[in-house]
């Protein structure tokens, strides 16, 4: 057997993917982080910053979720930064403020300058010892704050605590598919937290130690994934970030493939941009696993996705071409071919080496998926989700994510300006 270049590339990719899967399994087995609920002993002051741009559909519900937080009301400040909305966002926020005159709610209006600037604007008015960003399409559960903020007292190096993000009422199949993705991602984030490797503090209700973020200069206003940049900056300064499973925040996810595609291109390109901007952390022993594993895999995941997709595409196209040529040679007489078709399967002809690796990878991924559902106490088929949506997640969605990476590669190659700038 001669190993051709394609086989070699695929083998190297599989080796790397298998290595990572086994590594995370070892992290899972050997970690002893306590996810038990802790009793809160003091109620430090806390601020929620809600940056909002044209969020009339959800802003009221978002603010009401913040107002319903199970926390002493006098300790909670809410700042809404209206980032130049052209819809009714401003009016709706003012109505909420009128409805809760006893609560500390501030509305800041600014020209549309982007989320980073909106957050920094809000940061100037923060009174809380801790603050959270809360995207205006996300909804925090009442007990989340207490469950998250309690961890800061135990560790002065802890700079951020991230909640468990769930997809808000997944209605269509695409949202159901994203529901699986979010939960599995959350679980991987938990594994990352075990070895201090969290590289993103999501916009929906990640809580920060205010002084730390202010000392680091606030948010990077030019960054298209400011929540990722701030997390890497915290890591750069050796602060700790943890992930909780008991504090739930629900978020609205894209309903169409097009909007999801645009969102993911922005996220993933942002992650590559930031990984490159902080390349000094890569393979830097001062940053431990974050430097040796997390930072390189931000880029490696994209590279692997692109290579595997290109190889797969090349094989599919080559087979399709060969099939079409055969059909053309017999004047497209499909009927005779179908009539004369006989199913032939020879077990010993299977490529056992590739099958072994693929089965091991799939088994590990499936185990991690099932375990993550167990940890967050969810079932695959809860709330209208079906096995079909799970199957789509495992198949079509992987292809979709690969196309996102390919689009990003084209953007880099063509030096195209980002549409979200």
């Amino acid at each position: 057997m001669i190993l051709d270049t394609t086989d070699l590339i695929i083998s190297v990719m599989y080796f790397f993917l298998l290595f990572l899967s086994i590594f995370w399994l070892i992290v899972l087995v050997t970690s002893k982080e306590d996810q038990r609920e802790r009793q809160i002993k003091r109620f430090p002051s806390f601020t929620v910053i809600v940056p909002a741009f044209n969020e009339q559909e959800s802003i009221v519900q978002t603010l009401e979720s913040a107002l319903r937080l199970d926390y002493p009301p006098e300790k909670v400040q809410i700042i809404v930064v209206n980032d130049g909305s052209t819809d009714n966002t401003k009016v709706l926020v003012e109505e909420v403020m009128k409805g809760y005159p006893q609560r500390d709610i501030t509305l800041i209006n600014q020209e549309n300058k982007g989320k980073g600037k909106a957050m920094n604007h809000g940061l100037k008015f923060v009174k809380g010892e801790f603050f959270a960003s809360l995207d205006a399409d996300s909804f925090v559960s009442p007990d989340a704050l207490k469950k998250m903020i309690v961890h800061f007292d135990a560790d002065p190096q802890l700079a951020a605590v991230c909640p468990l993000l769930k997809v808000k009422k997944p209605e269509n199949t695409l949202q159901k598919v994203q529901w699986y993705e979010y939960l599995i991602n959350m679980f991987y984030r938990q594994l990352n937290a075990h070895i201090d490797c969290i590289h993103v503090t999501p916009g929906p209700f990640s809580i920060y130690r205010t002084k730390v973020v202010q000392d680091l200069g606030g948010y990077d206003e030019k960054n298209l994934t400011e929540d990722l940049e701030i997390a890497i900056r915290l890591q750069k300064h050796h602060y700790k970030i943890i992930q909780r499973f008991d504090a739930v925040v629900e978020t609205v996810t894209p309903q169409t493939w097009r909007s999801l595609f645009r969102q993911r291109v922005r996220w993933y390109k942002g992650s590559i941009d930031n990984a490159l901007a902080y390349k000094s952390l890569m393979f830097n022993k001062n940053y431990g696993d974050f430097g040796f594993l997390r930072m390189p895999t931000i880029i490696a995941s994209g590279v692997i996705a692109i290579i595997l997709t290109v190889v797969l595409l090349q094989q599919v196209l080559s087979r399709a071409w060969s099939w079409l040529s055969s059909l053309q040679a017999v004047n497209y007489d499909l009927l005779t071919l179908i009539k004369g078709f006989t199913f032939q399967f020879n077990f010993l002809s299977l490529p056992f080496f590739k099958v072994t690796i693929a089965v091991t990878l799939m088994a590990l991924s499936f185990f991690i998926m099932m375990y993550s559902f167990k940890v967050v106490e969810e079932k695959i088929t809860n709330h209208g989700r079906t096995w079909v949506s799970l199957l789509l997640y495992l198949t079509v969605y992987s292809i979709f994510i690969s196309t996102v990476w390919i689009a990003i590669a084209f953007r880099y190659a063509s030096r195209r300006k980002d549409y979200w700038k």
Binding site: D289, S325, D333
Partner: protein, 229 residues
Amino acid sequence: MARTISVKKYALAFILTILVFAGGIVLGLSIDNLRLNDAKQSSLLEKSNLLSLQLQQRYVTSGIAGCDSLNRILENNIGELTRKMGIIVDYGRNTIINQEEFDLQLRDYFLTEIQYFLLSQEIDNKCSKDNIKIIYFYDENELDTQGDILDYLKKMFGQRLLVFSLNSAFNDEPMIDIMMTSYNITQFPSVVVNSQVFRGHTAVKELHSAICDEFKLIDGEVPEECGKE
């Protein structure tokens, strides 16, 4: 915050990954040996089938064995032989260490195929001709759709079309050279329909027409499939 590199975890993950890969390779090797045994077993079976048919055809003239059943067995055996050859080619392509053995097996199959071809001619001499014989000379390194065309025609005409495929690049076997010389084959692919030689790629229409002409010679009329194309 003191940062550490999980050296032990990386090392363990690396070792386990190597073990899984090694497991895959060991499984591949074991399967390779199973495939070789399968090829040998099949080869033995095909030879027994050939020998049985050779013996049966000796009793045709005395009337003990019937021409119809002989032709039916011949057509079935050749179909099975072709299927097995495809599997052996596949085994040879994916083998890790047994390349030489699989080449030898394949050579054995080609010889069996040629023996079947000669036997079918002998049966034709004793019985009335029942089938059309096609010899397909191909070069496995050349990308061509000739094989697909023959597969298609085989599907169309069924068992009465006997296709003998000979790999010209298989230069270990002098008998293939002899066959090529006897039909004056100088380029690939080439197709021989009974005694008519088509050199180079031949379109489905031409071959279909040649096959129908041959059927007309045998049966006096063309089969239903000749109305198609």
